[in-house]
Amino acid sequence: MIGTEIQFELISPEKKLVSETVYLAEIPGDKGMFGVLPGHSSMLVSLGVGVVRLHKTKGDDDVKKIFISGGFADVTGTSCTVLAEEAIAVSDLDQASLEQRLSDLQEDLKLAEEMADKQRIREEINMTKSKLFAITGY
């Protein structure tokens, strides 16, 4: 008998951030979004940058959104464990300060001279853009 919910856990290196039962978890895989419902086949997935969306019950509109910067998910039929190095609730992201940060970074990029610095700043710009997209895009 397949249950009606899965145990969802979101863990960062420093602590367990979320541990609750959900009906559906939408997870940003490396190769695109995928949903985990009860009875999902077991798999290990590497995750990309994006937003995890948790539906408490079937057809629930009140979706919990959490931004993650990549990681791994271990999915079984009864549980879904997401390991993420950085995770933050979308509601905690601040659009204004992110936009400020983005323009600061673009400024930095123009000033940066070394390749390594430029690379690092570009990565940060991408991360900030993804965060902004997480607020506005969904």
């Binding site: 367990k16 798999m43 290990l44 590497s46 039929g77 549980s79 390991l83």
Partner: protein, 307 residues
């Protein structure tokens, strides 16, 4: 013979020392609790990571062609890198000294076998001690990884990034971490943990994880083999470097908790010793005072008799 005043001064100074040590003990105790909580909070991630790794890496061995180097090594065993973790501050009994001793033993051991050794230091105490003898071996000293109160993953990850980029550049074949493993409040054991190539321990967590999935299969009657996305190789390749970060982080947490525990015990002993010393001095002070009174009495009596 010291005068009464000397005794009084010494008792006063030991008393104020005792105040300091007992305050330090209490500070260490509260910090210990915090670091222990932090270490506990960090466990689920490390366990889950170990479980995943056990599952993925089980299919590889040294003979697989495509096995990642982080797992099977470079095939050589010539250059060793030691990551030495000590504390930034002293007054914690043998905590730092044991690590330094262990590191020196390791260096001597490896060099006697003709290996090349380089060092990365975390913590000021270890760095100053080792730079006296082996300055040329220290490739980097991280002075800002250990926070005052807590170890942050982002900071410990800098160490991991450095180790990994050195590995990619072929600067070493084997990397180990020398740190104090937190056994209990009273015992911290200097340990050497191999980071690269990754040594897979048959952890109970990993077995627990696989048991859980078989339980599901039994209950439901469905059988799903584990599938991997994008592929087993890619997941393993992504997991291994992160695992280095996690191992370093958990080592740092162990060391941080151990440091506070060691300091707490050391300061507890110091406080007790100061108490004993005060008792001793008070006894001596009283004796000296008694002797002084007796002497005065004798003087008075003999003076009266002479009249």
């Amino acid at each position: 013979m010291p005068s009464l005043r000397d005794y009084r001064d010494r008792i006063k100074s030991v008393k104020s020392t005792r105040k300091i040590t007992s305050a330090m003990k209490m500070v260490a105790a509260s910090k210990l609790r915090r670091t222990q909580e932090q270490a506990q909070a960090a466990q689920p991630y490390a366990h889950a990571m170990a479980g995943m790794l056990a599952r993925v890496s089980g299919n590889y061995n040294e003979n697989s062609d495509n096995a990642p180097k982080l797992l099977v090594g470079t095939g050589k065993d010539e250059k060793h890198l030691l990551v030495v973790v000590t504390a930034d501050r002293g007054l914690c009994a043998g905590f730092n000294a044991y690590i330094i001793k262990e590191t020196l033993t390791q260096i001597a051991d490896l060099e006697s076998k003709g290996k090349e050794v380089s060092l990365i230091c975390i913590g000021r105490k270890g760095f100053t001690a080792l730079s006296r003898k082996h300055e040329e071996k220290i490739v980097h000293y991280f002075d800002d990884v250990l926070g005052r109160d807590r170890v942050e993953y982002a900071k410990s990850n800098k160490v991991a990034k450095m180790v990994l980029s050195m590995f990619d550049d072929g600067e070493f074949d084997v990397c180990s971490m020398v740190y104090n493993k937190f056994m209990s409040v009273l015992v911290q054991r200097p340990s050497v943990m191999q980071l690269i190539p990754f040594e897979l321990e048959k952890t109970s967590e990993a077995e627990g994880a696989s048991q859980e999935s078989t339980r599901f299969e039994e209950e439901t009657g469905y059988f799903y083999p584990y599938s991997y996305e994008p592929s087993e190789d890619e997941i393993l390749n992504a997991l291994l470097p992160r695992n280095v970060g996690v191992q370093i982080f958990s080592g740092l947490l162990d060391s941080a908790a151990g440091e506070q525990a060691a300091r707490m015990t050391a300061m507890d002993n110091a406080t007790r010793n100061a108490g004993d010393m005060i008792n001793n001095l008070t006894l001596q002070y009283n004796r000296a005072r008694q002797a002084y009174i007796t002497k005065e009495l004798i003087e008075i009596i003999s003076g009266a008799e002479a009249l």
